[in-house]
Amino acid sequence: MEMAAQPSDTLATLKTESETLKTKLEEERAKLHDVELHQVAEKTEALGQFIMKTRRTLKGHGNKVLCLDWCKDKRRIVSSSQDGKVIVWDAFTTNKEHAVTMPCTWVMACAYAPSGCAVACGGLDNKCSVYPLSLDKNENLAAKKKSVAMHTNYLSACCFTNSDMQILTSSGDGTCALWDVESGQMLQSFHGHAADVLCLDLAPSETGNTFVSGGCDKKSCVWDMRTGQCVQSFETHESDINSVRYYPSGDAFASGSDDATCRLYDLRADREVAIYSKESIIFGASSVDFSLSGRLLFGGYNDYTINVWDVLKGTRVSILFGHENRVSTLRISPDGTAFCSGSWDHTLRVWA
């Protein structure tokens, strides 16, 4: 039996053991990597000239836009900002339909319920609250607010699962959690990140049981929603992971990081399979999303631009200018006809 001389020795030993295993894991993963994605994609037709323009500009937030989510109806959007305002827009007409003022600033997370009848949001209040949307102009939306999630640090992301009844959250307290909306009960918690969790995305799989998260520990983790276990993790980024998004088939996911790269991880190969980067891109990617076919990866960056990547060939297809401050959030519309970007310049833009 090993006699631990001091508690710190054991901790250091454990840490080293973990690091050694991680190195071994990367070696194992490399063994089956017999070809690069862009090689496999050599015969694929290259993309031609790419023109996307701002088709709508949503003005109304008085401060930095931090998060956005589309409604299933393909035209409505909910967005949240630094000053606590959460706005629901009909992005097509640019009309504002609902507005809520949260009791906290920096509302970093917001999500539209699948039914279109409610929105969830949260931020520095460490909570996730659900607001049923009412069409009654006289009703104060805040009156019917339901407090669902409670973390011990800021809420960084939230999303509804397949129904209005469950919400998945990630937090600066280093954990993710699944909640029952009606009762506010925590159904499952997910521990494993070593620092703030900044983002998450639900897997579009047949059995609908997993999600991926990314954090300040440079790690992305795939979780089993039933058991709370981390089933796969990847640690190849060099800085905080700000955004994770599944490839439409569910077999892979992309992540955007402060290290100015976006990366693609294949879940069956169990490794990173592509890096999307360019020497001239210095600032972090804050938000990523795929086009409907998965051929294009859109990245919103902290240098105010949006870079469009050819997922298969690994090259950058286009750079979109327009925002006058950081792009903080970016989502493709449910039917893939457009994507929306939100920025610290107080506006949202719909591009097509």
Binding site: L11, L14, K15, S18, L32, D34, V40, A41, M52, R75, R76, F92, T93, N95, E97, S115, C117, L133, S134, L135, Y154, N162, S163, G174, E182, S183, L187, H193, A194, A195, P204, E206, C216, Q232, S233, D240, P248, S249, A252, D259, A260, R268, A269, D270, V273, S280, I282, G284, L292, S293, G294, R295, L296, D303, Y304, N325, G336, T337, A338, A352
Partner: protein, 468 residues
Amino acid sequence: MTINTLSQDGVQRQQMPCLTKMERMIISMQDPDMGIKLRNQRLLITVIPHAMTGVDIVEWLIKKFSISDEEALHVGQLFIKYGYIYPLKEPRNLILKADDSSYRFQTPYYWMSTRWPASELDYAIYLAKKNIRKQGELIEYEKECYNALHKRINHTWDFVVMQAREQLRASKQRRKADRIVLECQEQAYWLVNRPPPGTQDSIDHGPERRTMNTRVQLNAEFYKKEIEHNRISLARNRVKSSICLESYVKYCEQYQPHDPIMQGCLPSNPWITDDIMFWNMTSETVALPTKLRVERWSFCFMELLNDPMGRKEFLTYLEKEFSAENLCFWQACEDVRHGETAKIPEKVDEVYKQFLAPGASRWVNIDSKTMEKTLEGLKRPHRFVLDDAQMHIYFLMKKDSYPRYLKSELYKNLLARAIVPQETKKSVFPFMRRQRHSSPSPALATQTAEDDGKAKNSNSNSGTASRL
């Protein structure tokens, strides 16, 4: 991206990789051989050394990174915003102009990574110097800051004034050109770190990360768990890259015609033409679906189930085959899995009565082992108690009913009748924008039926629901 206010050493650098990268670029821009050619610049009656023009900066960036003019200008602009390069002629205008305007590299002493956060004391000394040097030189917001600082750090004000006087005295002993350069550098630093109100704040970085409230304890238990996870991961079955990656090529190819951004959509993309025909034709309740939509159901079982219309068609087919209870069962299980916790027991009970009980009206055919396990689990119903049974029925449908549906007359018939929309012709009068119609909000209406009659139509700004 945040800067840790608690430390200014290596930890901070790690948290701001963009600064490290910018600095590397700045250094290579100043390389004697491969860098920008610097020259003297006349500023009024003084000659400032080591200056460059805006065009120099842009051209160097274009050549170095093979990027466009626009991107090079944008990247160069960032260097100025973050204080690594400053303009000589109009110091308050932190903009890069791609002409012969003069710029200089900021000294590393004043780099953001070296001196962050800017100290209040230093700012006070800077403002005091300005004030002493020339009365009335402080502009409005600087006067306000000066007064505020005077109040806040009043106890060290003697030190502030003394330092200011000392620095002014030392600078008088320098050559005029050097003095002007140092003044420019200092001014540039403060314009970035204490921007005038109304201008953009480059150093604003958002809420802090990795604070004391991040409660993850990196203790023995944490590492033990990590070790366990890594051990399991090592033993995992992996698939060769050549097999995995091929699937992306196939997927992208298959879905490309369905990707409006890649290949457009018929009749037109509503966001581009303001015409919502596309949404009308692809809505849930449309009479006849589009060909693309029906084709998509054949890609995989999930595509069929995810489309409410597809699901309905499939149900119709199953009814003909007397196996509709499978889909109904699957749907009921989904409802349990994703529904309210409180309603689970009653829902599970319903499912049992309808689908699993001996002699149930819509009995589903599950293998005996799964049935036994499920029935046992029903004694203590929870969210996932029906998972095994649901999975069994799902794969049954996927492997058996689904392929046969795709070969059926029902499907083929629908595919043949499905619409291929005509492309919307571009407007004859390009300046006439189409009216952007509102759509009914999916949100619950609390208005009564009488109110509906008063609801406005078309793109009013009232935000009320409209009837199309």
